[in-house]
């Protein structure tokens, strides 16, 4: 069976519609995960032991359960509770909860990697602990975690494919419907894979540029 490029070109709009949703969801989930991770790492470093333990428990919980099950839990659960969420919102929520947990751990490693002497230099200048953290430690930590954050972003982009199971018309769903309708199976999945590769490559390329830009000389 020869590869039918015409098919790909004819159906490009279908793929691009799906791609648009994929990019939208990826971008939102990425930004929200970065922010939510910051909140979680804040709780993880709280002065109150119960809060600390709660945050640690949360991180363990999301890291050790599949994001797909979390999506089902939120999507079908919200319907059962009488507040049905759209597939997009439920998917976004699950992606953020899961990846925020991973991101929090990445931040934590970054923060721990900044020498205590830096905090001390801030305190010696007359900063409060909070100021030393936000002015001195955190900006350095964030610069060091660009590469692992980029990997997490790639995971998010790929995991957006899962919302196809809760009826969101993103790219994988679009491809699947096309494969169901036509027999052009190779063309569909080849194109899908190529488009994902493209998105992932552009994203990680951009992150590499950012990393080079913000890198701090030792």
């Amino acid at each position: 069976m020869p590869f039918d490029f015409g098919f790909v070109v004819r159906n490009l709009p279908v793929f691009l519609d799906g791609l648009f949703v994929t990019i939208q969801l990826s971008a939102l989930a990425f930004v929200l995960s970065l922010l939510w991770g910051l909140v979680v790492v804040g709780l993880r470093r709280s002065d109150s032991a119960p809060v600390r333990n709660l945050a640690a428990g949360y991180i363990q919980a999301v890291r050790n359960t599949p994001v797909l099950v979390q999506m089902y839990f939120i999507f079908f659960g919200s319907g059962m509770a009488g507040y049905p969420l759209s597939g997009f919102v439920a998917g976004l929520l699950a992606l953020t909860l899961q990846n925020g947990g991973y991101v929090a751990e990445i931040y934590r490693a970054g923060i721990d990697s900044v020498s205590r002497r830096q905090t001390e230099a801030g305190l010696a200048l007359g900063m409060l602990r909070r100021q030393a953290f936000f002015i001195v430690t955190l900006p350095q930590a964030l610069r060091r975690v660009v590469a692992p954050i980029s990997n997490q972003g790639v995971t998010i982009i790929k995991d957006t494919a899962l919302v196809s199971t809760i009826s969101v018309a993103e790219m994988t769903q679009a491809g699947r419907l096309l494969a169901d309708r036509t027999a052009a199976v190779y063309e569909v999945f080849f194109t899908l894979a190529l488009l994902y590769l493209l998105v992932v490559s552009i994203f990680s390329g951009t992150m590499r540029l950012i990393e080079r830009r913000v890198r701090v000389l030792a």
Binding site: Q131, I135, L217
Partner: protein, 262 residues
């Protein structure tokens, strides 16, 4: 004790500190007078760095008190030894400039930002004003041409001079120097000591922990020899270096002469 003019800028009375079972400071008394440069010398482990860190409350101490311009440092004034609120401790620390062995510049900020971050973020000075002060200070330490460089692009000696400017930018009452040349390549030591010498001549109150005996001899108003967590001997440099009274100081100086030729 009432606040009177003419009393020492930094007063230590009976300062004691232990790490676990080790007594690192043992009832230390010391007066650092306004405009004077006091140099702390002694073998490693003698407690001189810990003492200096206590003066900026980077270390807590269990007994005794330290007064900065008459105000007790770190602990409250009412005799309870309750730790002061964080804001007050930060204010007290801001009044003392500290320079570290490992520079501890903020690597993600330019030289100019390193020197302005204190005045702007802590004292709330307008940025333009802080920058004017910073430029002047950086000129003074010979780095007026490196404003936009990052610490990682500078030599150790240059970084340490920026660190001095950073501390000076807070207009401190006194400067604390913790072995600031120990991490430098030998050929870079001179430029840092020159800045410190100039600072001492300008009348800055300074407490300096160092192994640079020649510098101590030339630039100090008073030299303090510490050993085993106590002050063993103190006095003008001439007296300490040429007529040491105690066995321990004699041994320490002999050791140094053999190593470094004083």
């Amino acid at each position: 004790m009432s606040i009177e003019s003419g009393r020492a800028a930094i007063e230590l009375r009976g300062v004691s500190k232990r790490f676990g079972s080790v007594q690192v400071l043992n009832r230390v008394d010391l007066d650092v007078h306004r405009g004077k440069a006091v140099v702390l010398i002694g073998p490693s482990g003698s407690g001189k760095t810990t003492l200096l860190r206590c003066m900026n409350f980077l270390e807590e101490f269990e007994e005794g008190e330290i007064r900065i311009d008459g105000e007790p440092l770190g602990y409250s004034d009412d005799g309870t030894r309750r730790r002061r609120p964080e804001r007050e401790i930060a204010r007290q620390r801001a009044a003392l400039g500290m320079v570290f062995q490992s520079f501890n510049l903020f690597p993600h900020m330019t030289v100019l930002a390193n020197v302005t971050v204190g005045p702007v973020r802590i004292k709330g000075l307008p940025r333009s004003e802080a920058e004017a002060v910073a430029r002047e200070l950086l000129d003074r330490v010979g780095l007026g041409h490196k404003l936009d460089a990052y610490p990682g692009q500078l030599s150790g000696g240059q970084q340490q001079r920026v660190a001095i400017a950073r501390a000076l930018a807070m207009k401190p009452k006194a400067m604390l120097f913790d072995e600031v040349t120990s991490a430098l390549d030998p050929e870079l030591v001179g430029e840092v000591l020159a800045v410190m010498r100039q600072l001492a001549e300008s009348g800055m109150t300074m407490v300096i922990v160092t192994h640079e005996m020649a510098f101590a001899r030339d630039a100090a108003d008073q030299v303090v020899f510490m050993s085993g967590g106590s002050i063993v001997e103190a006095g003008p440099p001439d007296q300490l270096f040429h007529a040491p009274q105690t066995e321990r100081l004699q041994a320490f100086l002999r050791h140094f002469r053999e190593g470094y030729r004083l």
